[in-house]
Symmetry: C2
DNA sequence: TTATATTCGGAGGTATGCTCCGTTTAACAA
DNA sequence: TTGTTAAACGGAGCATACCTCCGAATATAA
């Protein structure tokens, strides 16, 4: 349990630079829909050898996961900001819409993500925690203000949203997703109690 | 250009039998979580050569799609049955829950499905139509009976459901999905109008 | 400047997706 | 029943992608 780390040396600057390069190239490729791009190609575009890629990310899934997690963190960070700017229910709504936007515009890695056959459990468990922390705060605030029923499980909303992002095919899906957000908010209100 | 088909002969019986064998074996494998099973192995289990598999399904995606579509049809067929057995809103709710059950118990091919990198659009468009037909009927009935707001797009509900199925990780996800169905129904009601 | 831990990078082993084509077999006609 | 033929069978083999391994290069600390 003692997680002693002996950073005898500072991490090498080129190492970190290469790592970020790889991450950026991978994100760009996935966003462009090149989900099945060979790892060799990613390494080439990033200007590094294949060996370097594999040291940073032991396998394909690890790379996808890293890209995914980085974007996820940014989304999670937006929650407190929105909470400070809007009343509870609207903050929740805004964040859910942001979720949709994010997936739509910048992150089409959803298919790639689901391609993580097998190990999804662990990944979702980990990263789900991050997002859950974000939405938990928003929901808690909305419950406290009396706008939302107390028996709503934040994770339910998260799942619906995640689903929509996967279904991101066909024209007009984005407005459809926005509508869905409204339905979810309406369904969570205390009105009918 | 005239694509006249002259079915001079009936399709061979062994051909169809082999095709169904392959489909069953593939479904079983996917359901068992063996998403990455080599196609050679599927052919072996079905008792046919690899060449036979590839004639029926030109590539891996085609096989997955075939399995997917077959199951989808069965789900769609359940809609009219439920509509005949329950009042509109309850029929809708029941069908949505069935959707969840189906994915949960018998169809863990969701990850495989999403692995159809690239061509998802076409597939979803096609098969989405089938499901949409099913839910359209249910929603129309509920709208007609005045239970549900008229501005609900059935496809929205579909998307949320599809999403949940992808998020099928972690314990208790199933009850969570059921809760979500209730939220969606509640959010679609006319009460607040 | 010297020492050394860390990173780099690509050749190559392994395995999987898919093709090709000679052989086998079921359907049809006489 | 028997011959003809179009269609299905099946596996050897090629292309390619993932990943490992290890000598060379290099940034950091003394």
């Amino acid at each position: 349990m003692t997680d002693e780390k002996k950073p005898r040396r500072r991490p090498r600057s080129d190492g970190q630079r290469n790592r970020e390069n790889l991450l950026n190239v991978a994100k760009a490729a996935f966003t462009a829909g090149e989900v099945d791009i060979p790892l060799d190609e990613i390494a080439r575009r990033a200007g590094v050898g294949i060996g370097t890629l594999y040291r940073h990310f032991p396998n394909r899934d690890a790379l996808i996961e890293a890209v995914y997690r980085a974007e996820l963190d940014r989304l999670a960070d937006a929650a407190p900001v929105l909470a400070a700017q809007h009343p509870p229910v609207e903050a929740l709504r805004a964040w859910m819409r942001l979720f949709v936007d994010y997936i739509a515009a910048k992150l089409v890695i959803a298919p790639a993500l689901n391609g993580l056959a097998g190990g999804t459990g662990a990944l979702y468990a980990q990263s789900g925690t991050v997002l859950q922390g974000a939405i938990d705060g928003l929901v808690a605030a909305a419950v406290a203000s009396g706008d939302i029923s107390t028996d709503i499980e934040p994770v339910d909303l998260l799942r619906a949203l995640a689903g929509v992002s996967n279904y991101a095919a066909g024209p007009g899906w984005e407005t459809s997703a926005k509508r869905l957000v409204d339905i979810l908010i309406a369904g969570s209100r205390t009105s009918a109690s």
